[in-house]
Amino acid sequence: MWRDAVLVAGKDLRIEFRSRVALSQVTPFGIMALALFAFALGPDRVIMAKGAPGLFWVAVLFCTVLAIQRSVSVESANGARDGLRLSGIDPAGLYLGKSAAVAVQLVVLEVLLAAGVILLYGARIAVPWLIVASCALGTIGLAATGTLYGALSSGLRVRETLLPFLLLPIVAPVLLAGTRIWQAGMAGGTPSDGTQWLRLLVVFDAVYLAIGVVLFGPIQETA
């Protein structure tokens, strides 16, 4: 399982390294979203700094949808998905590998978006470990659910429109938890508020990773 996971993650990241879709399209989209939020909320940096945690996570969520679309479309061309099924690769390994590749791309994106939030909105981080922990756990949850739903919708002709509709309500807890942890970790927040939300994220991640490891095979065969 782990060997296959590393193999698949390496493959997806190599494809990203070659095509730069996430870096040259998804990340600029995220930054642009930050700018649009700023336009919508007016030039008052106090309001923006207050909204920074939520805006950060909304931008991450939208970018997740794009990253998952890309992760699915990589396997759609030339019947690559059938190729993977035929190779007898362990479905659990395939799931973890694809999730890991998405997670790595999201982490890079989050670093840039966090920098953007700090620079553009004047957000001040007081407890860095809370921010880092929320990003790490949130990213795992987003990648785990996204890869699952990506596989489910991979055979659909209407995937582009249906995937966000199905995925975004499911990841609502990630948005809520991520935002609350960020608020707790910002200047003027109460860091102790973050712990129960971190626990929620851990449960979320564990539940969906377990589901993916067990059910990715059957989902893949549904096509």
Binding site: D4, L7, V8, K11, R14, I15, R18, S19, V74, A77, N78, G79, A80, D82, G83, L84, R85, L86, S87, G88, I89, D90, P91, G217, E221
Partner: protein, 237 residues
Amino acid sequence: MAIASPSPSAVSLRDVVALSGRFPLLAGVDLDVAVGETVLIDGPNGAGKTSLLRVCAGLVPLASGRLSVLGMDPGRQRTAVRRRVGLLSHASHLYDDLTVIENVRFAVRAAGGDVARIDPACERWGLVGRLATTQASKLSSGQRRRVALAVLTARWPEVWLLDEPHAGLDASARQLLDAVIAEAAASQVTILIASHELGTAEDTATRAVTVTGGRVTADRVLDRQTPTTSGSVTHVA
């Protein structure tokens, strides 16, 4: 080499029905292929040749009937069966953003194949030098087919399911393919070749099965000529 009855069967279908929606791809196929046998599957377009191979690879679920591949049920022991079966299909299964050699390496590793066999296989199929580091998106369909064949050659599974393997290949690649098939047949690999073009692989085939309307309508043993009469077999490297 392939003696019909006493050897265990590599692929066995009993009254297999497979559907796509409500359309029967296979409408009750009975077929036994012994280990080490090379079977040619012919029949008109849309007869179910491709479907038969996809069913054997476990890609298409059965609506009814029984299927066993290497003594296993592809519906249940998916991973185990697929590791030991190779399907050469119309789709190249390539990642356009990766180079040829990267594609081959990934495909062989994903299938749990022997990494040491990758380079010789690529060399054999002429995937060396600049071509090896070319992006897959820039390949012609014949070159894509060569890459897929290189993966198959490197993996060297126990059952080969070849769907129109000669399509898109130039003359020298066809000869090479025939040689590889002959070599595989000699090493007790079970081979099913779906093709309308009788003749190219007939030298190695021991049996020909005709599929029409999703059923096996004819099954005949081919009298093998002495191998020296055909030029392709002498090519074995």
